[in-house]
């Protein structure tokens, strides 16, 4: 028992969190809330201590055990009750529940590790804007196993990101003891990155509050990261019944717990507080339960196509220069636009030279990153969440699966699971595709793995619609703000961007923000080829030869927005000929063309369709074999002839 008891205001906060969570367990046993809850009973003081030092602009990013951190800062029992009970009045409209909250600059997500780069991205945005605000991210000792943490510590230290990592060291990852999984020293990890560390514990709250104050001041004033280790102990199970710890061990920590002992030793202080809290919580539950259960299904409406326009732009420049032009225009127009990526700074200017001298023209806004796809995607995510318009270049699309957690579990979900309170308009540029002899891990078309994630958008550039226009639009406020993956096929970088069509045809584009392109003839077509990205040059050549060699008029639909699909706009184009060949460079199994075929078959069973895609194997480096594996002009011709036969 420390010499000094914290003031009653702080005791009330800590006890309030504890009683809130005990009430949750009770409600759960009564069947009045959904899912599971992870209580922080025994750890309440970290949240309480931190809340003493934050300013309103500071951001907390917490994890699955986040109730205490949130309640200490906001005191919003009712909103959190309603959220966990799945009510419309919940802080995230009942979508996020216990682990996914967003209110009063407190965020949380149930993924270990991934929140560290996101919080750092938010802090980086604060630094770029010079607000003086900081971000605090809570991790557990279990998170020490996640690579995202170390990738981020490295960057945070290198870039001077004002982020404070608070490690709540409660000795167990769910039921696994730290003794089984942890090597070396905890603080030494952060120190190795040149990050200052501090240490405190929850058994001496006054000391913890003081240390927390030092830490916050340091991060804010030095604009440096800091690692704070807080030793603590979870007095209840990880979730509910999953507790295999020694009873004697758990009891020994109950004895050390100040809230528990104060109730015993100072009933005259704690009694009235407890009674007051009980009334508050009763009322909060009662009010929360008056709100209707969350019951709104997401409505997805296809963007209507108002018109088709002949595609006219000043062609002749190489694609890579048009990409550069679009990015440069966006940087010039909007200070929120920043770019991160591996090797993107001038004079090197990116592996494919898309960013050229932008880092020299816009100092500090175009930055080289370490080879840490997961962390840099997470930081980009955080930048977007904090209101920036970040663009990330991943050097090869093959590396994008390293970042898939950030796309799938963070960027894609934030807007929805935070009840529509935030937008995450990050732009992720990456080259995909083969035909360059780069071999199995630098030639793939992996976009199919990232298609169909609700809340995201996937685009594929092609040379018949100006890439500069695409990036200008994407980085403006005119289009829907959501995470967007842009596929830049490698073979297209050197192609000339121009609206030139095969002789006898003309390119039109739809009125969508990211339009469909349609190579139309005035004659009634014999068939239609649907393709995207790097397949277009092969398809155009095939169309040319099919006309001269086989007397066939073949129209082309080139899709830019792979997801969400613009199928209603596409369908009449295919019905015009009644026959469609669907082409993609990647593997066909569960691929884009499989989805297209299924979608069109649902709409019109009369369409005759075939698919063309990569041979189902890895891409060899030997170029002649690579060209045989991937769809090519000859195969397009062969498939079209099969289709119209």
């Amino acid at each position: 028992m420390p010499a000094l008891l914290p003031e009653p205001r702080l005791l009330e906060k800590a006890l309030g969190i504890r009683m809130f969570e005990q009430r949750l367990l009770k409600l759960f046993s009564e069947g009045r809330l959904f899912g599971t809850v992870h209580t922080c009973i025994g750890q309440e003081w970290t949240g309480v201590a931190l809340a003493e030092h934050l300013t309103p602009g500071d951001v907390i990013f917490s994890n699955h055990r986040c109730h205490g951190h949130y309640l200490a800062r906001t005191g919003n029992y009712e909103g959190l009750f309603a959220e966990i009970m799945g009510r419309e009045a919940g802080i995230c409209r009942g979508r996020g529940g216990s682990q996914h909250i967003c209110d009063g600059n407190v965020f949380s997500n149930g993924i270990q590790g991934g929140i560290v780069p996101v919080a750092s991205g938010i802090a980086y945005a604060k630094r770029l804007r010079g607000t003086g605000d900081i971000a605090v991210v809570f991790v557990g000792d279990g998170t020490l196993g996640e690579g995202a943490l170390y990738e981020t510590l490295n960057i945070a230290s290198a870039w001077g990101i004002p982020v404070m990592v608070v490690l709540e060291n409660n000795l167990y990852a769910q039921s696994t003891s730290q003794k089984q999984t942890l090597s070396g020293d905890i603080e030494a990890r952060a120190q190795a990155f040149g990050i200052r560390t501090l240490r405190a514990d929850t058994w001496d709250p006054l000391q913890l509050i003081e240390t927390m104050g030092q830490a916050v001041d340091y991060v804010r004033s030095e604009t440096r990261p800091l690692f704070l280790r807080v030793d603590t102990y979870r007095l209840m199970a990880h979730s509910k019944s999953d507790d295999d710890r020694e009873k004697a061990e758990v009891e020994s920590y109950w004895e050390r717990d100040l809230v528990h002992r104060a109730a015993k030793d100072f009933p005259e202080i704690m009694g009235p507080i407890e009674a007051r809290l009980l009334a508050t919580l009763d009322a909060a539950v009662e009010r929360a339960e008056t709100s209707p259960l969350s019951n709104t299904l997401e409505q997805v409406h296809e963007e209507p196509v108002a018109s088709w326009t002949e595609t006219i732009f000043l062609g002749g420049e190489r694609m890579v220069n048009r990409i550069y032009a679009g990015l440069r225009a966006a940087l010039e127009r909007d200070e929120r636009v920043v770019m991160l990526g591996e090797d993107i700074e001038g004079p090197y200017g990116g592996a494919f030279k898309a960013t050229k001298d932008l880092s020299l023209l816009f100092p500090g806004r175009v930055r080289n990153t370490p080879i840490s796809e997961l962390a840099i995607t997470g930081i980009t995510n955080g930048l977007a969440l904090a209101g920036m318009k970040p663009v990330l270049e991943v050097m090869f699309g093959d590396f994008i699966m390293l970042a898939s957690d950030q796309i799938l579990n963070h960027a894609a979900k934030f807007e929805y699971m935070y009840g529509g309170q935030v937008k995450t308009p990050l732009v992720l540029r990456t080259p995909m595709g083969g035909m360059r002899g780069y071999g199995p891990t630098h030639s793939q078309s992996l976009e199919k793995h990232l298609l169909g994630i609700p809340g995201t958008r996937v685009l594929a550039l092609h040379q018949r619609f100006d890439p500069a226009t695409v990036y200008e639009r994407l980085l403006s406020d005119e289009v829907e703000q959501k995470p967007t993956l842009v596929i830049e096929n490698k073979v297209l970088y050197g192609e000339k961007a121009s609206p030139d069509a095969v002789e006898g045809y003309k390119w039109f584009h739809s009125g969508h923000s990211f339009p469909l392109s349609y190579m139309r003839s005035e004659s009634k077509p014999d068939a239609t080829v649907v393709c995207y990205g790097g397949m277009l040059p092969s398809v155009e050549q095939a169309v040319d030869r099919l006309f001269t060699e086989h007397d066939l008029v073949i129209e082309v639909v080139c899709v830019m927005q792979l997801y969400p699909l613009q199928k209603a706009a596409m369908l009449p184009l295919l019905q015009h000929s009644g026959r469609a060949l669907l082409v993609e460079e990647g593997h066909g199994f569960c691929g884009f063309t499989a989805e297209l075929m299924a979608s069109f078959a649902e709409l019109d069973r009369g369409l005759k369709m075939r698919r063309l895609y990569s041979h189902p194997q890895h891409i060899p480096s030997a170029k002649p074999l690579e060209l045989a594996v991937l769809p090519n002009v000859e195969r397009v011709i062969k498939e079209v002839l099969e289709l119209v036969r």
């Binding site: 997805v300 409406h301 296809e302 209507p304 196509v305 018109s307 088709w308 002949e310 006219i312 002789e503 006898g504 045809y505 003309k506 039109f508 349609y518 139309r520 003839s521 005035e522 004659s523 009634k524 014999d526 006309f547 001269t548 007397d551 066939l552 008029v553 199928k567 209603a568 706009a569 369908l571 009449p572 184009l573 019905q575 015009h576 000929s577 009644g578 026959r579 649902e602 709409l603 019109d604 069973r605 009369g606 369409l607 005759k608």
Partner: protein, 465 residues
């Protein structure tokens, strides 16, 4: 005011018919009709069919007599209340042209007015017509396929003739040469593209003319023949058969059946020996029919019909005779069913009753050959006359030599009916030494049939002395 309304639907009697002709109404619009009452007569490509009322009630015509009716459309409804005004209320705009377009458009509707059928709850906006949407600001660069250039040269056409077409290939030339066929442009026809392709027509004549619409049956016949012609590489061989009067001989022999039945009987046997003529050609393959279903053509002025004797090779002459008689009677009574004219694998066209000496029969759809039988020709006063047998066959399946063997075989078989066995044998001689049966008998030798060559050889020529 919900009134009961029962559609009068057509039974799809023939998968080849997308539409039928409503020949005449037998009950007036607005009339009260009993259940099963005779309502109308319709003409399909195969037969005329009577339409009966599915229920009692007031008759509400949807089409006028003489119109083409899509098979999927009810021709009328039977309602519990009398129709308010004149006929064609429901189908006011549905002129015969509209019906033809509906037919041409094939089952999946493709066009500006066709609403999308959505299985999901996502509202998908209906897009406006393709033609209206794509107005180019700059001009298309017109282009001609090599085939198109060749055809244009042949027909003396210039690039200006194809204004508004940016990529001109063979089909566009054909459409230009025959604009009537080009509108409405046929939906892509999978599977039966052949008859449409065969319809590639010549320019309209410049002489004054009157348009006479062909009957449904005639159009169907034309499509069938065009399909046969377009699928086959037609070739023909003929043989002249010397005869003393086949029909008379058969009558004299008192066998069951006339010369047509005998011909069909013998042909059906020969087709097992010459399967190439009981086949059809598809994509580099000979599809050899497992059955021998021989059709025979009839036309007494009411339209050509080919009635089919199924499995003719397994039937006796008497059975064939009976079947042919029944089929002929059905034809004369206009009661041939679809089954009775379907699935022929070979056809005999006998024009002997018309006095025709020779002609060039056309192979029917999905068949590989057809036999034409000409009339017996006699010079007055002479004992011997002759008649022609013509075999038109698909050269992709057989060759002239096989066809000749087939005809000679048939000729021999028919000849047999003209002679008694004795007479026959007396007339036969060795094909090499020309000695007759009588001469051979004297030398204690005899005549043998050889398969190669398919002739008779004497035992002397065969084995040597």
């Amino acid at each position: 005011m919900s009134s009961l309304s029962i559609p009068v639907a057509l039974e799809r009697d023939n998968v080849n018919d997308e539409s039928v002709v409503l020949v005449r109404w037998l009950a007036d619009h607005g009339a009260m009709v009993e259940a099963d009452a005779l309502l109308a007569e319709i003409e399909t490509s195969k037969a005329n069919i009577e339409v009966h009322s599915p229920a009692a009630g007031y008759l509400n015509h949807h089409f006028a007599a003489g119109e083409d009716v899509p098979v999927s459309e009810p021709i009328a409804t039977i309602t519990s209340e009398a129709p308010a005004s004149g006929p064609f209320l429901k189908k006011g705009a549905n002129t015969s042209t509209a019906a033809v377009i509906a037919e041409a458009e094939d089952t999946p509707k493709k066009g500006p007015s066709a609403p999308l059928q959505m299985p999901s709850r996502e509202p998908i906006p209906v897009t406006a017509g393709l033609a209206a949407e794509f107005t180019a600001v700059t001009a298309y660069r017109q282009r001609f396929s090599p085939l198109a250039v060749k055809m244009m040269r042949e027909h003396g056409l210039t690039e200006k003739d194809f204004a508004g077409k940016s990529a001109v290939r063979k089909q566009d030339i054909l459409d230009f040469l025959n604009p009537a066929a080009a509108k409405p442009s046929p939906a892509p026809a999978y599977g039966d593209a052949a008859p449409r392709a065969a319809a590639a027509a010549s320019p309209l004549p410049t002489q004054p003319y009157e348009e006479i619409k062909l009957s449904k049956a005639k159009r169907r016949e034309g499509m069938n023949l065009a399909a046969g012609v377009s699928n086959a590489v037609q070739s023909a061989v003929a043989v002249t058969c010397v005869t003393t009067g086949l029909q008379r001989a058969i009558a004299k022999r008192k066998i069951d059946g006339n010369s047509s039945a005998v011909m069909l009987y013998e042909v059906s046997r020969l087709l097992r020996k010459y399967p190439a003529f009981n086949s059809t050609y598809r994509d580099g393959m000979r599809l050899e029919y497992k059955q021998v279903n021989v059709g025979f053509a009839m036309d007494d002025g009411r339209g050509l019909k080919v009635a089919v004797v199924p499995n003719a090779d397994t039937l006796s002459l008497a059975e064939i005779t009976t079947q042919m008689r029944e089929l002929t009677e059905a034809y004369l009574d206009d009661k041939l069913t679809t089954a009775q004219i379907a699935n022929g694998t070979f056809t005999i066209s006998d024009l002997s009753s018309m006095g025709i000496s020779g002609f060039f029969p056309l192979i029917s759809e999905n068949q590989g050959a057809i036999l034409g039988v000409g009339a017996e020709q006699f010079i007055p006063g002479h004992q011997y006359g002759w008649y022609e047998l013509v075999l038109t066959f698909d050269h992709q399946l057989g060759d002239g030599r096989t066809a000749a063997l087939f005809l000679n075989d048939l000729k021999d078989r028919m000849k047999a009916y003209e002679s008694t066995l004795q007479e026959l044998q007396e007339e036969m001689s060795c094909s090499r030494c020309m000695r007759s049966v009588a001469e051979l008998r004297e030398k204690d030798q005899h005549l043998l049939q050889s398969s190669v060559p398919n002739q008779y050889l004497c035992s002397v020529c065969l084995t040597g002395y």
